[in-house]
């Protein structure tokens, strides 16, 4: 331990940003869940009271993390990982069902969600594996190991069912990309998403016509010196066509109606304006109400505790997944942009910190932390403002929920702890 104690070299900029986000989040939870019985903010029967308690727990967790020897996390990463996998498996037997998903252990005073813990441990395990001296990211077999570490918890969480949390693990791919995992995998992923969306919007025929036209254009206007082999291009078009055909099949036969509805809403697949509006107001009720609430905030917002729609409980789940709509209504455009800028600065600061690490483990873990947080932030706010289909993930540090807040905090502070020790690593 360095001479300055456990707080000595901690990155205070990050800590302040973190505290700001938690504080803003809590005020909004307070606003959405204030009831006429509530008198004290420490009333633990209310959501904001409980959240305050969770903030206290998170603080204890942070203190714990900061006092632990930093090599502890690296050394025991594999064990943590195994423990969390076991906990995820245990859910199939001992899990408690809340809102249709078996994602919790009932600890009496508190429902514990192991998938939140697994985010931390998976990030640690991945970093540990990749930073091992014997691991080579360009080795196919090692790539496969890395993928397994990421996908195993995702697969275990999927059938809870909690597809949102499951999807989150894919964000850890950014760690791989940072460490030299070929970027064209990302390219392929992007192409798949684009093909999926365009097939649903325009149909297979137009997608194929588009692809062929694109290929012809490339051949027509490419530099004469540039040689592009024909066969792989034709192959790619054939594969894309097959994929496009399978999209229709999957959409019609594998997806359930509620999944289809989300895509119908997201991509505006329903051509009849009236019907679409109807779907927006019924199936897309949450998003519709949250958009309306945000919209009604205007530039300045309606003021703290003055959001008429927030107060009227018009947005379902507003204290958890839809917390950002409260910011939109009460604090207006000023508030929403402030939060987004805060988050962006926070993330960029974390990247800056990650890049200054001398230890590979610290950097890789840092990237894991950032990827996880950014992904949550992107999917959550994207959904709340109507850019993405409905996927239930919380907004880090904002949304109501104990497991989320505590593990996001520990996730972050383990990284800050590692960072505070970076000089020692270098020696």
């Amino acid at each position: 331990m360095s001479g300055k104690g456990p707080f000595g070299r901690i990155d205070w900029i990050t800590v302040i940003l973190y505290a700001l986000l938690v504080f803003i989040g809590w005020t909004n939870i307070y606003s959405t869940s204030l009831t006429d019985q509530g008198t004290s903010i420490f009333d633990f029967s209310t959501l904001y009271g409980k959240q305050l308690f969770f903030i206290g727990l998170a603080f204890l967790g942070i203190i714990f993390v900061l006092f632990v020897e930093s090599s502890f996390f690296e050394r025991f990463a594999s064990i943590f990982y195994v423990v969390s996998i076991v906990l995820l498996l245990g859910l199939f037997v001992f899990g408690k069902k809340i809102a249709g998903a078996t994602s919790w252990y009932d600890l009496g005073f508190f429902n514990f969600q192991p998938s939140e813990l697994a985010k931390v441990t998976t990030a640690l395990a991945l970093a540990k594996f990749l930073s091992d001296i014997q691991t080579d990211i360009r080795n196919r077999r090692h790539q496969l190991y890395a993928l397994t570490i990421i996908l195993l918890p995702a697969l275990l969480i999927l059938p809870q069912p909690d597809p949102g949390s499951s999807l989150i693990y894919f964000s850890l791919f950014f760690v791989l990309f940072r460490e030299g995992f070929p970027l064209y995998y990302l390219g392929i992923l992007l192409v798949i998403v684009v093909l999926f969306a365009t097939t649903l919007m325009f149909g297979t025929v137009w997608v194929v016509i588009g692809l062929v036209t694109l290929a012809l254009l490339v051949y027509t206007f490419k530099k004469a010196s540039l040689k592009i082999p024909v066969l792989p291009v034709i192959g790619a078009i054939v594969v894309s066509t097959l994929f496009s055909l399978s999209v229709n099949f999957v959409f019609e036969h594998v997806f359930e109606q509620r999944h289809r509805d989300r895509f119908v809403l997201w991509l505006s697949l329903e051509k009849d304006e009236k019907k679409l509006e109807e779907i927006r107001k019924t199936i897309g009720y949450n998003t519709y109400q949250s958009e309306k609430a945000i919209e009604s905030g205007g530039f300045f917002g309606k003021g703290f505790l003055e959001g008429t729609r927030t107060k009227g409980d018009f947005v379902p789940e507003q204290h958890s997944d839809y917390i950002f709509s409260s910011v939109g209504e009460e604090w207006g455009f000023l508030g929403t942009t402030t939060v987004i800028i805060l988050f962006s600065i926070f993330f960029l600061r974390l990247i800056f910190i990650a890049e200054r690490q001398k230890s590979d483990f610290s950097r890789m873990y840092g990237y894991g932390v950032i990827s996880l947080l950014v992904f949550h932030y992107f999917i959550n706010i994207g959904m709340v403002i109507g850019l993405l289909p409905t996927i239930g993930v919380p907004l880090p540090f904002f949304s109501y929920g104990g497991s989320g807040l505590i593990f996001f905090s520990m996730l972050l502070f383990i990284f800050l702890k590692l960072d505070s020790n970076r000089l020692k690593d270098g020696i």
Partner: protein, 622 residues
């Protein structure tokens, strides 16, 4: 590259989010949306709907309180369903399904659970209401009818539908709106203007005071009472006489154009379309497609006018100078068109204008009609002149009354016949039926009454209307106080009116004279056909009568049209005579005549074509 990947993604996401948020919060935001905000409650203050009085200030339509049982589903606490259902007079299944509907509509907004309780049910329920949390009673105002008649004129009000909500932003779901008749025509006057208060609700759904200090609030504006031109007693009496008969009656005060009575038979009690039984009753009336009680025969039926039309042909011929009152035509118990003899019931012999009218001689008017056309070089010219004269009596087009429905009738013109027969392939003889009011001419009872009023006025009429005065100012639309002059000079009316008076003295209505009142009238007997199951069959003639009285200084002009009532003097003539006596003398002296009309019905005639058996028409016995 790989170091910048995540940073650039973060920046791109940030810009995308801010872009979307500026679209939502800056572009799509509008300060007005506060009015659609579910957290701003609007409380309406409804003014009372204006009363409707008859021409003598007798109340016809007022208001009565009614009580809707309302529910706010999310506030409902467990209750004794059985007892509640009993109090409401509904069964449990109905109760549950209504609760379900209310919940589907909105858990937090009030829905009507049981509409329009009677005063008695309300009294019983009110004591127990406190046991049923989440329910409350909403007082509303319904129409109260101080008459059993005039449903067709008064019209009714009913809840606004989606179309109304779309077309007129004034209305809010659940409000009432005039649907037909006067209620529709004078909707805005009767309705007034509701007041609006905007209440800011806090997060606990409590009222925390006026929104923006009430700057957007408005006060209610009272609905105005209106007086209509109907004579309540005459109207009710006429409807009584119409019992068991189908047809239309319109009575007009000639010197003002005010409609004194407007009767359609069969009719219905306006109170049927108020209250809880409303929709049941409405369906019953609406789907009665044979007697059609909701179809106002007084302004929508367009039969051939029959012989009353002869008076107009006489006037036109006099105006055109083709006859004078002493011009004579011979009747061969009919008249020849080419080699065909068309019948006449006048008894035959030589007819002049006077006896032509009072004996209703077909041959005389066929001759007159030919002379009108013969004056002009071509039939087309003759037709144009004839048309112009006819239309100056308000025939062949909408009259422009202040009732929301109406029918144009028909005065055929040359284009009409050119289309029918071909250009140049028809002549006066082809269309000779028009001379006696058969053939292609058609008129509503209202048009016939108006035409009679124009004769009574010796050459002009006011557009018939039902509005007498509005509120205190009394002013009505000036179009109802501007006279319309016919194309016939005043001097030509006297001989025709003399003929009409002699209808009562010597003619077809001599049995219907009223002691002490000089009446001028004209009978009409109209052949008619219907199709039943694709088979065309002739039915008993329609009975038509027009009259005005007294001959000098006329106070009432009317047209009576009775479906399948046989000859004009029979049903229509009787009824006209009784109505005139009632209006002018206030009471009926000829009790036997009255009793006969009140008792006799034509149901047996109306049943004939649907009996499936062969039947006789125009039976002598009645």
């Amino acid at each position: 590259m790989k170091k910048l990947l995540l940073s650039s993604i973060i920046v791109i996401i940030g810009f995308t989010f801010i872009g979307r948020l500026s679209y939502l919060q800056l572009f799509r935001f509008s300060p007005d949306q506060i009015l659609d905000d579910p957290a701003i409650k609007k409380i309406y203050d409804y003014p009372e709907r204006g009363y409707i009085y008859d021409r003598d200030g007798k109340l016809m339509v007022g208001n009565q309180p009614a009580y809707d049982v309302m529910v706010i589903p999310r506030e409902v606490k467990p209750l004794d369903t059985l007892e509640f259902c009993q109090l409401l007079g509904i069964d449990k299944l109905e109760f549950l399904s209504k609760m379900e509907n209310a919940r589907n509509y909105s858990p937090r907004l009030p829905s009507v659970l049981v509409p329009q309780l009677s005063k008695e049910d309300y009294a019983k329920l009110q004591e127990k209401m406190r046991h049923f949390v989440g329910f409350y009673i909403q007082k509303r105002s319904l129409r109260y009818y101080n008459t059993h008649g005039a449903a067709n004129v008064l019209g009714y009000i009913s809840e606004v539908n989606e179309g109304d909500l779309l077309n007129n932003p004034y209305y809010v779901a659940g409000e009432l709106k005039g649907r037909t008749g006067i209620e529709k025509q004078y909707e805005e006057i009767l309705r007034g203007r509701k007041g609006v208060k905007h209440i800011q609700k806090d997060r606990f759904n409590r009222d925390i005071g006026p929104y923006k200090d009430g700057k957007l609030d408005t006060l209610p504006k009272q609905g105005k009472e209106i007086h209509i031109t109907l004579d309540k007693e005459l109207q009710e009496y006429g409807e009584k006489l119409m019992h068991g008969k189908r047809g239309g009656i319109v009575a007009i005060e000639p010197k003002t154009g005010e409609i004194l009575a407007m009767i359609s038979g069969p009719t219905y009690d306006p109170a049927l379309l108020v209250g809880r039984e409303r929709s049941k009753n409405y369906s019953k009336l609406h789907y009665d497609t044979i007697s059609k009680p909701t179809w106002d025969r007084s302004i929508l039926a367009q039969p051939s006018p029959g012989s009353p039309f002869k008076t107009l042909n006489a006037l036109i011929a006099l105006q055109e100078g083709v006859i004078d009152p002493s011009t004579k035509f011979r009747c061969y118990h009919g008249f020849y068109v080419g080699n065909t003899l068309r019948g006449c019931h006048c008894g035959g012999g030589v007819r002049d204008l006077n006896s032509g009218i009072y004996q209703s001689c077909n041959a005389y008017f066929a001759g007159v009609f030919r002379k009108i056309y013969d004056k002009y070089g071509t039939t087309d010219e003759g037709m144009d002149v004839w048309d112009k004269h006819m239309k100056s009596f308000g025939l062949g087009d909408y009259l422009g009354t202040d009732l929301p429905t109406g029918a144009p009738g028909r005065i055929p013109d040359k284009e009409y016949y050119d289309k029918w027969y071909g250009d140049g392939r028809w002549a006066a003889s082809t269309i000779i039926s028009n001379s006696i009011g058969q053939g292609e001419v058609a008129a509503t009872p209202l048009q016939l009454a108006n035409m009679t009023a124009a004769i009574a006025n010796r050459g002009y009429f006011y557009t018939p209307h039902v509005i007498k005065s509005v509120g205190n100012s009394g002013a009505i639309d000036p179009k109802f106080t501007t006279p319309h002059y016919t194309t016939i000079d005043r001097k030509y009316f006297e001989p025709v009116i003399q003929g009409m008076a002699d209808v009562y003295n010597y003619g077809t209505a001599r049995w219907l004279k009223i002691p002490g009142i000089d009446i001028a009238g004209k009978t009409g007997t109209v052949e008619n056909y219907i199709r039943v199951d694709g088979e065309r069959m002739q039915l008993t003639d329609h009975s038509v009568f027009v009259a005005f009285a007294p001959v000098e200084n006329p106070q009432i002009a009317l047209a009576v049209y009775i479906e399948n009532g046989y000859f004009g003097a029979r049903y229509a003539g009787h009824i006209a005579s009784l109505l005139i006596e009632k209006y002018i003398n206030g009471e009926i002296t000829r009790k036997d005549l009255e009793t006969r009309m009140l008792e006799k019905t034509l149901e047996h005639e109306y049943a004939k074509p649907y009996s499936g058996e062969p039947f006789k028409i125009n039976e002598r016995e009645w």
